[in-house]
Every structure is written in structure tokens, then in C-alpha cells.
């Protein structure tokens, strides 16, 4: 808190603030206690905040915290809402509209 309230701001303070912010976003993405939308929004913010570090650095942060899963989940919820489809082949429940992800994945695994 002392760092955040310091009037004599320096580049070091700025870097520390950025680090705290990024850590908080990463914790949010990793957390099971927040909603899908919050995790997705945190992943979006993480991308925006770390874009100045370069694409490689940003992507390694996303890999480390599972940010891509958070984004996928958020898009699913936004697009399909709470509609749940039950697969007639393997009975898996999914929010997907036309193809069961589990059946499709197992078919893919067999073929390739």
C-alpha cells in the first residue's frame, strides 16, 4: 500500500505496481472461486497489460495460468448461455451446438 500511495513515483514503483496488477490477474484466472466471465475478463486484461512486453512474453504468461481455457469458457457462456446439449452417442453434456466435443475428440484420436 505504501508503494501505491507514494507521491514520489519512480520507474521502480511503476514496475512494482505493474507486477502486482499482473499477479492479481493471474491469480484471478487460476482461481476456482470466481465466475467464468470474471476469469475470461481477467485473461483479456492480462493480454492488454502484458502486450508491451512482447508477444512471446505475453503468450508464456497465458500458457502458465491457463488463460486460453478461461477465454474459451467465457466465449462459450456468452454465445450459448446456459443451453446444455446431451450427446446421443456418449451422453456427455456440453454447451456445444452441433458436435459433441468428447465424441469428436475420441474420433479424432482414433483417426490421427
Amino acid at each position: 500500500m505504501k508503494i501505491l500511495g507514494d507521491l514520489n513515483d519512480t520507474a521502480e514503483h511503476e514496475a512494482k505496481r505493474e507486477k502486482i496488477k499482473l499477479d492479481a490477474l493471474i491469480d484471478t484466472i487460476k482461481s476456482d472461486e470466481v465466475s467464468t466471465t470474471q476469469r475470461g475478463a481477467a485473461a483479456e486484461m492480462l493480454l492488454e497489460e502484458s502486450v508491451t512486453d512482447g508477444l512471446g512474453s505475453m503468450q508464456s504468461k497465458i500458457v502458465d495460468c491457463g488463460g486460453i481455457g478461461a477465454l474459451i469458457d467465457m466465449v462459450k457462456v456468452r454465445f450459448f448461455g446456459n443451453v446444455v446439449i446431451c450427446c446421443a452417442f456418449c451422453f456427455s453434456r456440453s454447451v456445444m451446438a452441433n458436435v459433441c466435443s468428447i465424441a469428436a475428440e475420441s474420433e479424432t484420436a482414433q483417426r490421427w
Binding site: 505475453m58 474459451i72 452441433n98 466435443s101 474420433e107 479424432t108
Partner: protein, 141 residues
């Protein structure tokens, strides 16, 4: 939501492990769903077009330089992509993105023998059973 799709596209571009993760978490199927059903899922058609464009751009990024994802996309979405490329109501920019995706999938296409199911990259006869693998064109009624 469109923003999240662009974020996904930025995340995966040129990164093998994120491309793989996108596929294993059902991301390619999700993108195909959005590409095919954006118009019916969004009330605002301009948002639907933007969502379709973002999903196509994300799919393109997830396929570039990733043979496994290309094969998965080929087995799951080739019919849908070809239909969309030929549809009159597909926006021109989105159609161009679909063409780019189809070009990426081209080297991984195959001919499947209708007799034994063997897949091969090309050829008029099946290398396994010798059955003719020519494309069956629609017959007039």
C-alpha cells in the same frame, strides 16, 4: 465476446503449445459453431458478422503451421467452410478468410476409399483394395 475472440487469436498466433491447448479444450469446435451459427445466435447482424470474422481470424491463427489442428479442422469443419464460402450472404471479408483457411487445409486433404475406408493423399485407385476412388458426382434425377 468478440473482444474475447480477438484475445484468443492474439494469444495463439505462432505459439504451438497454445494452438494445441486451444484444440484440446474444444476451441476449434467452438469456433466452428460460432462461424456457422453466429447469425442465428446474435440479434444484431452487425455483431454476428463481427463475431464470425473474429472466429475465422482465430481459427486461421490456430491452423497456421500446425498440421494436427489442420487435420482436426479438415475432419470436423470442411463441409461447413465450403458451404459458407459459397453462400451469397457471407460478407466478402469473411469469405476471404474462409478461402485462406481452405488454402491452409489443402495439403492435408485426402481421398477416402468408399469400399474399405483407406485414406490416401491422391490417386484414382485405392492403394489397399484397388477400388476406384474417383469423386462421385451428383446424378441428375
Amino acid at each position: 465476446m468478440v473482444k474475447a475472440l480477438w484475445a484468443m487469436r492474439t494469444s495463439v498466433i505462432g505459439n504451438d503449445s497454445l494452438m494445441r491447448e486451444l484444440q484440446t479444450q474444444g476451441g476449434l469446435l467452438l469456433l466452428l459453431d460460432i462461424i456457422g451459427h453466429a447469425a442465428s445466435l446474435c440479434d444484431d447482424q452487425s455483431v454476428a458478422r463481427e463475431a464470425q470474422e473474429a472466429a475465422l481470424a482465430c481459427a486461421l491463427a490456430a491452423l497456421m503451421g500446425h498440421p494436427h489442428n489442420c487435420r482436426v479442422m479438415l475432419s470436423l469443419g470442411i463441409d461447413q467452410l465450403i458451404d459458407l464460402a459459397g453462400a451469397e450472404d457471407t460478407p466478402e471479408h469473411n469469405r476471404q478468410l474462409i478461402f485462406d483457411i481452405l488454402q491452409l487445409l489443402g495439403p492435408y486433404s485426402y481421398v477416402e476409399c468408399s469400399n474399405c475406408g483407406k485414406r490416401q493423399p491422391k490417386g484414382r485407385f485405392c492403394v489397399q483394395c484397388g477400388f476406384e476412388t474417383g469423386v462421385e458426382l451428383a446424378r441428375s434425377p
